[in-house]
């Protein structure tokens, strides 16, 4: 089934979930490498890869949100405490927010820093703000802070999924697996 039902994720939602999971983990590593690499042609290439994947993730996040709104969302299992339901809602909201906010703040840095850039060396990315060194520095801080927040929320997300499976013994993790 391509579409979700009220108690199962469809192939569409699973595709977005796992493709973006892989891209986001890779993207965080690329970002750390790009920032810490000594100035060299390799560093510049790492930044092009990081920015290109950012644009890809932003595009996928937009499509994924549209797909989510066009589908029913599987319900949480019975017997979850109110705080658990609230934690699930807040953490998922934060994940979507960060999937959008990280690429957008990156785009602002690139525009403010006035660095020539083509997505995957092909398509020029139009600037969203005028060149401004102070703004670029400020958004570099914001971008780094958001990336750290993403790592924290991801750890909570993965921890919660494992808790559902191994401690609560419900089907929350299994129903997102490709065969589940």
């Amino acid at each position: 089934m391509l579409r979700n039902t009220t108690d199962s994720w469809g192939a569409g939602a699973k595709f977005f979930h796992w493709l973006m999971a892989a891209l986001i983990v890779f993207q965080i590593m690329l970002g750390v490498m790009a920032v810490t690499w000594p100035v060299s042609p390799t560093k510049l290439d790492l930044f092009v890869w990081h920015k290109s994947f950012g644009v890809l993730i932003l595009t996928l996040a937009a499509l994924r949100l549209l797909w989510r709104f066009a589908n029913p969302t599987p319900e949480l299992p019975d017997g979850m405490a109110a705080w658990e339901r609230a934690a699930a809602r807040v953490s998922h909201f934060l994940l979507y927010l960060l999937m959008i906010a990280l690429p957008v703040t990156g785009w602002i840095i690139n525009s403010a820093a006035n660095i020539p850039f083509r997505v995957f060396w092909l398509v020029p990315l139009p600037p969203v703000v005028a060149p401004d060194k102070a703004l670029a520095d400020l958004f570099a801080q914001v971008h780094g802070g958001l990336a750290l927040a993403l790592v924290v929320v991801l750890v909570a997300h993965i921890g919660a999924a494992l808790r559902h499976h191994f401690i609560k013994h419900d089907k929350v993790l299994v129903r997102m697996l490709p065969g589940g």
Partner: protein, 189 residues
């Protein structure tokens, strides 16, 4: 007495007739409106810059370009690529090496007309300690008092050692650098 006067008269005639032909007009650059730009490529994307300070001196008669000359000095340290991080990098030894080679020069060896108002100055460009023969094509528009020279040429950055070490590879920073100029001139004197 008569003979002496005749000689002086003859010399005067010769000087009056010969000097203007041998000395083409001198032109001085008007920095306002003059521009020296360069466009490198950065990850397959154009990366423009300017040299804010440069000066051109020209002896030139558009009808007889052969006797003229073009000398350009460029303050390399006035380069501006409008990205603070990049401006910091290009000062270094691997790039322009501001400390070692603060100035570049072009000295023409000959000027000729290509066609109509298009001319070519052939000469030597000294940049970052390297001397290379280059041809500078330009168009000439103007009148007897004011004129504009415009042109563009493409240089290989590698020929001048700009981008040393691992930057010599041209996949990230391209080999070709386009140089574009607009020089506003006023007749001197």
């Amino acid at each position: 007495m008569k003979k002496k006067t005749a000689w002086l008269g003859l010399c005067g005639l010769l000087l009056a007739g010969a000097l203007p032909a041998a000395q083409p007009a001198e032109w001085k650059m008007d920095p306002a409106g003059s521009k020296l730009e360069f466009v490198a490529t950065f990850e397959k994307t154009p990366a423009p810059g300017v040299f804010k300070e440069f000066d051109a001196r020209l002896r030139f008669d558009p009808e007889q370009p052969a006797g003229g000359s073009l000398d350009v000095t460029v303050k390399v340290t006035s380069a501006d690529m409008s990205i603070p991080d990049v401006n910091k990098e290009i000062r270094g030894k691997d790039w322009f090496d501001y400390a070692g080679f603060p100035q570049a020069e072009f000295r023409s060896t000959d000027l000729r007309r290509a066609q109509g108002n298009r001319y070519v100055a052939r000469g030597t460009l000294s940049l970052k300690g390297a001397k290379q023969a280059v041809e500078v094509p330009f168009t000439w528009t103007g009148d007897a008092e004011r004129a504009t020279m415009e042109g563009e040429l493409t240089l290989k950055r590698g020929a001048f050692g700009i981008g040393a070490g691992e930057w010599a590879a041209t996949s990230v920073i391209g080999a070709d650098v386009k140089v574009k100029f607009t020089v506003k001139l006023r007749k001197a004197g």
